[in-house]
Subunit: 353 residues, 5 copies
C-alpha cells in the first residue's frame, strides 16, 4: 500500500522514540562524506559518524549522505553528535511522513518524496528524502542506495557554477532541485504514454486501453498526493527568515518552487486528459455497440418476415389454394422482394443505411 504506510509498530509510542517504518532492509547503511569549500575538497565513504563529527565545526560545507534509514543505532549517534532533535530523528526513520519544513533554530529539517517511474511494474515509486541543513553541514537521508544525487556530486567535484562558493543552503537547493528534476522525468514518461494511448484511441481501441488509463489515473492521484505538499514546503522555504537560507539563495528556491508548481499543473492537466480520454473510449464503445445493434436489427428485420412467409407456405394443410396456383411460387418471391424493398427504403429514411 503506497498511499499510507503501515505504522502499527508505531502506534502508542511516545514522540521521540525512533521506530523504523518502511520496507524491511538488512544491508548496512553506507555514509558518504563530501567536505568542500572553494579551495578544498575531501570525498570518501565513512564507516561511522565519529569520523565526520570533527568536521562539524570547520567552516567548510560538510555533506553526509546516508543511503538507508533502518539503522536506528546509527541515527541516534548522528542525533547526539550533530544536535538533532529526537522528533526530527523520529520523522527521518518513519517513511510515512507528509512532506514538510520544520525550523529548529540550529537547523532546518526538510522531508519530501522522490518519485521515479518503475517501467516494469508500470507504477510510480516514491522514496522519502530527508534533509537536515545546518550552518555548515547538510545531512541527506535516502531510503536506499540510489543515483539521484550523483549529478550534484559531479558538480561539486568539477567545482562548476556557484556550488563550491555558496554555503549549505545552496547545497540544499541543489539536492532539492535534483529531486524535482526527477518529477519531470516521471511526467515525461507518463506524457509519452498518454500520447500513445491517444493515438491508439483514435485508431482502434483495445479494451486493455481501459486498464492503462485507470493505472495512469491512479499514478497521477498518487503523484499529486506526493508533490502537492512539496509546493507548500518550497513556498515556506522561500518566505523563511531562517539565517540558513541566505537572501542570495532565495532566488534559487523560487526557481524550484516554480518547477514544483509546473509539475502540479502538469499532473492536473494529465488527469483532465485522462478523464477526457476515458470519455472518448466509452463513447467509442457506445458507438460501436450502436453499429453492431443496427446491423443485427437490419438483418433480423428483413429476414424475419421473409422466413415467416416461407413458413406459411411450408404448412401442410389439405386446403391451401395458393399452393396450387400456377404462379404461386413466383408470386411469393415477388411479395418477398416487395417487403425487402419497403424495408430498405424505410432504413434509408431512418438514416440507418
Amino acid at each position: 500500500m503506497r498511499f499510507i504506510k503501515k505504522s502499527s509498530k508505531k502506534a502508542g509510542t511516545s514522540p521521540g522514540t525512533l521506530v523504523h517504518v518502511g520496507d524491511e532492509r538488512t544491508e548496512p547503511v553506507r555514509l558518504y562524506l563530501i567536505d568542500y569549500d572553494e579551495g578544498s575538497l575531501i570525498e570518501r565513504e565513512i564507516s561511522g559518524i565519529e569520523a565526520a563529527a570533527s568536521l562539524k565545526d570547520r567552516p567548510t560545507v560538510t555533506w553526509i549522505n546516508a543511503d538507508g534509514i533502518h539503522d536506528i543505532e546509527l541515527m541516534e549517534k548522528i542525533g547526539a553528535r550533530f544536535g538533532i532533535h529526537p522528533l526530527t530523528l523520529e520523522d527521518i526513520v518513519n517513511t510515512g511522513q507528509r512532506p514538510k519544513l520544520e525550523d529548529f533554530e540550529d537547523y532546518l529539517y526538510l522531508v519530501f518524496k522522490m518519485l521515479s517511474y518503475d517501467a516494469e511494474a508500470e507504477t510510480v515509486r516514491s522514496e522519502q528524502i530527508s534533509l537536515v541543513v545546518g550552518e555548515n553541514f547538510v545531512f541527506s537521508f535516502q531510503e536506499a542506495a540510489g543515483d539521484v544525487f550523483d549529478l550534484v556530486r559531479e558538480r561539486i567535484r568539477k567545482g562548476k557554477g556557484r556550488i563550491r562558493k555558496a554555503g549549505s543552503g545552496y547545497l540544499a537547493y541543489a539536492l532539492i532541485d535534483a529531486v524535482v528534476d526527477h518529477y519531470y522525468a516521471v511526467l515525461e514518461t507518463v506524457g509519452a504514454k498518454i500520447e500513445e494511448i491517444e493515438e491508439q484511441l483514435m485508431e482502434d481501441p483495445e479494451p486493455e486501453v481501459l486498464e492503462t488509463i485507470h493505472e495512469l489515473k491512479r499514478e497521477m492521484i498518487f503523484s499529486r498526493k506526493q508533490v502537492w505538499p512539496v509546493r507548500e514546503l518550497l513556498s515556506g522555504l522561500t518566505k523563511s527568515d531562517s539565517p540558513l537560507v541566505h537572501e542570495s539563495t532565495g532566488i534559487y528556491f523560487t526557481d524550484v518552487y516554480d518547477h514544483a508548481v509546473q509539475v502540479i499543473d502538469t499532473i492536473e492537466s494529465f488527469r483532465d486528459m485522462l478523464s477526457s480520454m476515458l470519455d472518448l473510449y466509452l463513447s467509442t464503445i457506445s458507438n460501436r455497440m450502436n453499429e453492431v445493434m443496427k446491423m443485427l436489427t437490419i438483418i433480423a428485420t428483413i429476414f424475419i418476415p421473409l422466413t415467416f412467409i416461407a413458413g406459411i407456405y411450408g404448412m401442410n394443410f389439405d386446403f391451401m389454394p395458393e399452393l396450387h396456383w400456377r404462379w404461386g411460387y413466383f408470386a411469393v418471391w415477388g411479395v418477398m422482394l416487395a417487403v425487402v424493398l419497403v424495408l430498405l427504403v424505410y432504413f434509408k429514411r431512418k438514416r440507418w443505411l
Copy 2:
C-alpha cells in the same frame, strides 16, 4: 443514521440544559483516575467525582477518563466541582457535536470524533471524544468503554518520554495523537480493501464489486465529514495563545496537525481512486456487453439468411422448378456456403472477428 444525530429530544430546550443525545445506554459510567508528576503516580478507578476533587488544586496532573456520558447527574457534579461551564457540559453529553475547540479561559474544551473500522458491519464507526483541559487536570469523555487510550496509560506508567515531566497540555496532545493514530488504522483497512478490489477488477469483476465500491465511497464521505473539522481544531490549537498550550507543546500539536492533513489527503486520494475504479468497472461491463452483442449479431446474421433459404425450399407449392432439379439440393448448399463466406469476410473487415 450516522450522518446526523437525532436531536428531537433536544429541540427547544434552553442552552445549558443537559440532555443526553446518542445511543441509549444503561451501564454505569466508570471513572478512571490517573494522577502523576515526574516522581509520583496514583492510578485507580473511582466511584464518584468527590474522590478526585481534592486533587484539583495539587500541582500534579490529574487525568480522569469517563467511559460514558449518559449519566447526567454525574456530569452535573463534575461541572460543579471542576468549574465547567453548563454549555460545555451540554456539548459533552450531546454526541451530535461538530468537532471544535473552545477556549473558556479556565480550561480548553475540545470535542472530536474517534473513527474505527467495524470489520463485521463493514462500516466506519465514529465515537465522540471530549477533552476538558485545565491547568493541572484533564477530563476525557468517551461514549463507551474502549481501549483507545490504553497506550497513553502505559506510557504514563512506564514514565517513558516527556509525558511525566510535561503538563496537562502535553497529556491532551498524547490523547489526541492516540485518536488520530486510529484514523490511520481505518485508512489502512480501507486502503487494503481498495487494493483488493483493484486486483479483482483487473481480473474478473463480479457485480458485488459495485456495492463494495459504493460502501467504501460512503465510508470515505463519512470519514471526511468527521476528520475535516479536526484539522481546523488542531490548526486553532497550534495558533492558540492559551497559557494551557505551552510553547514547547506547540511543536507536538503541529505534528498531529500534519497527521490530520495527511489523513484528509489520503481520504481524498481514496475517493478519487474509488471514482476511477467505478469508471473502470462500468467500462469493463460495457466492453463485455459489446462482446456479447457482437457474438449474437454474428451468429444471427449468419444463420438467419440460411434459415430463410431453407424455409423457401420447404414450401409446398405445386410448381417449384428448383425442387425437381437434379443438383438443386447441392446448389442450395453452395449458395449457403457462399453467403457464409461473404459474411465472414465482411465481419473480418469490420474487425468483429
Copy 3:
C-alpha cells in the same frame, strides 16, 4: 418556482416602496406580544401596533411576532412607530430576499429562511423569517402562522435558563436557534430516506428509486442555496461590534454558527451520497442488462443453428440423399447434440455460464 421569486410587480419601483412579494394571502395578520424581564411577564395577542408602542421605551424586552407580511399598511405603521428604515420594511415584505444581516445603528436587521419538510409533497418548503432586533425590542416576521417559535415562548413562560435575564440579543439567538433546529429536522427526514433508498438499492432497485434520488438531490440543491448564506449571516453576527450583541451572547451565536456549518457539511455529504447512489443504481441497471443480453445470446446462439439444420431437412427437393438414409434422422439429432455441446463448452470458457 421556489428557486427565485417572481418580482415582476417589484421591478422599477424606487427603493423603499413596500410591495409584498410572495404567496397571495388574505387572512388578517395577527400580532402576538410578549413583554418580559426577570420578574414580569405580559403575553397577549394585540390588534394593532399602537398597543405595543408604549412598551418600546420600557427596559423590559418586548417581543412582537407577526405571522404574516402581506398587510402593507400595518408594516408602515410598525416602521413609523419603531423607527424602522423603509429599506428594511421593503425587504421584510419581499420574500425573495437572500439571507443577510444589516446593521442600522438603532437595530439589527436579520433575514433568513426556515426550512420544513412537507412529507406529502415530498419537498422542502422555505419560509422567510425577518428579525428586527432593537435595544429592548425584537420584531419577528413570519410569512404565515406557524409553530416554530412555540418552544421559545414556552421557555420564556417557564422562565427557564438565561432567557428571562438576558436581553434582546439573547432572544434573537433563541429565535435563530429554533430555526436552525428545524434544519436538523429536515436533514433527519432526508437522511432517513437516503438510508431507505440505499437498502432498496442493495436488494432490488425499482425504477422509481431514480426519481426519488433526483428529487432528494433537488431538495439538497435547494436547501444548500437557503442555508449557505445563513452561515455568512451568523459569521457576521459573531464578529459584529454592534452593542446589541453583548459579549456574553457571542458564545451562543458561535454555537448556532457551528450548527449551521454542520448543516451545510451534512447537505454536502448527502449530495455526495446521492451521487454515489445514482452511480450504483445505473451500474446495477447495466449489470442486469448485461445478464439479460447474455441470456438472450446464449439461447439464440444455441437454437438458431439447430433450427437451421432442421430447416435444411424440411426442404422438399426431390433429390436429398440424406432423407432416405436409414439412420439419417438420428444422425441429425447427433449433429445437433454435438453443436450444443461445443457451444456450451465455448460459453463455459467465456465465463458466461
Copy 4:
C-alpha cells in the same frame, strides 16, 4: 459567437484608438437628456452633445443616455466635452469588454452586461451597458435602443423616492439596479422552463428534452460568464472610496450586490439542477432499454426453442418414428407447454416478470 467578440479589426491598434466592435448598425445614435434636481426637471431628446455641455457645470444631475455606440465621431466629441479618457471611450465602443469598474478620479467608469431572454431564439442575449458617472452627470451607453431604463425615467418624472434628492451616484445605482432586475427576469423564464422539463421527465420524456437541457445549460454557462464579474464590480463599488459614491448610497450598492450574488447562486443551482435532470433522463432511457431488452429476451427465449421443436418434425426423413405415433402431435404440444412453463417459472424467479 456570443462567448467572445470578434476583435480582428481591433488587433494591433494602439490603446486609445476608437474602433467599434460589435454588431454592425447604421441607424443614427439618439441622445436622450434628463436634467433634474429636487425642484426642476428638463427632459428632451438632443441632436448633438453641444447642447448638453453647458449643463455639465450646473449642480443639477445631468443624465444623458445614448442608445448606440457605433458613432465614433460622436463618442470623440463626448470625450472631449466631458473630459472622458480615450481608454474609457475605447472600452465603451468595444462590446467585448469584461464587466469592470475603473476609477478615473474625475469620474467612475462602469461597464457591464444586460441580459434578456429571447423567447423566439430560446437564447439569452447580452448587451453591453457602460456608465460614466461624474460629479453631476451620468452618461449611459446602450448598444441599441431598449426600454430597460424606462422605469428609472418614470421615477425621475414622478419625483418618487429619493431619486430627485440624491446625486449622480444614486442615479447610477438606479440604472444598475434596473439591469440586475433584468437578470431576475431571465432567471424566472429559465426557472419556469426547468420546472416544465422536470414534470415532463417524470411523465414521458421525449428525446427533444435532451436538446432543451443542453441549451439551458449553455445559456447558464453564458449567463454565469456575464454576471460573475458584475459581482466583483459591485463589490468594488461597495468598498470604493471614491467621493462619487456617497456613504448614504453605499447601502443601496450593497443591496444590488446582494442581488447579484443571489443571481449567481441561482445560476449555480440551475446548473446543478440541469445536470441532475440529465442524469435522470439518461437513467430513464437506460431503464426503458432494459425493459425493451427483457421483453425481447422473454419472447425470443420462449419461442426459439418451440420453433426448433416444430422444425424438427417438419423434416422429411423417411424414417422418423415419432411422426407415425398415434399421439405424436399431441405429445409435441405437451412438450412445448412444458418448455413454456419451465421458462416462465425461471423468468419469475429472475424477477423479470
Copy 5:
C-alpha cells in the same frame, strides 16, 4: 509532447548554465533593432549585439527582437553587454518555463507563451516569448521568426498613439498586449468550431464529432495551462513597485490583465460547453440505440410467434386433425391476425409505437 518539455539534457547542470531546451533549429538567429523616442527612429536588422550596445546608455528606447534562442553564444554576449543575470539567460533558452515575472532590480524578466491555432494539425501551438525590460531597452526573444510583433512595429513607425512618447514599460505593455490578442484569435477559432459542432449535434451527429470534441477539450486543457500563469504574471506586474513600471502605465497593464482573465473565463466556459456537448452526444447515441432496439423488439416479438405457428403446421405427423379441416388454413391466418392485433395494442399501450 507539448505539455512538458524534454529537459533531459538539462538535468544536473548547475544553475546558470545555458542549455537550449526546445525544438532543434539551425537557422541563424536574426536580431532586429528599433531605437526610438518621440522625435527620432532608427530601425534595422543587426548582425551582432555589439552594434546595439552603444545605444544602451542613450535615453531613447532600444528594442531588440531576437527570433531564435538556440544560439547560446549570442545569448552569452547579450548577457554580458546588457548585464543580464545568468539565471535569466538560462530561463530564456529553456522553452519549458512556466510563465513568470522576475524583478532583478536593473530589469524585469517576463516569460510567457504565445498561442496560435495551427489549422492544419488542428492543434494549438505554443511558443515561448521572453521579455527583458530595462530602463531604456527592451529585449524580446521568440523561438522562431513570426509576425506577432509586426503591428507593434507598425505603430512605432507611424508614431501613432502614446507609444513613441512613453518609455520601455509601455513598449513591454504593447508587446504583451499583442500576444494576448493572439489568445483571442485562438479562442475565436475554437469558438467557431464549437458552434459548428453544436449545430451538427442537433441535426445528425457523426461519430467523428466525438474525436473533435475530445481534441478541442485537450486544446482547452493545454491553453488553460499556458494562460493561467500569465494572469498571475500580469497581476504581479500591476502590483509591482518596480520603477520600470510607471504609474501611468499601470492602467494599461490592468487592461491586459482584464483581457487575460476574460480569456481564462472563456476557456472555462468552452470546457463546460464541450462537456455538455459530449453529454448531449452520448445521450443522442443512447436514444438512437433505444430506437433501434425497439424496432428490433417489435419486429421480433410480432413475427417470432407467427413463425412458430407456421412451424407447427409444417410438421409432418400422420395424425394432425387440424390439417384436414376445411377452414384450417384460414383459421390459422385468423389466429395470426389476432396475435398481431393483441401485440400492436400492447405496444401502443407501452407507448413504443
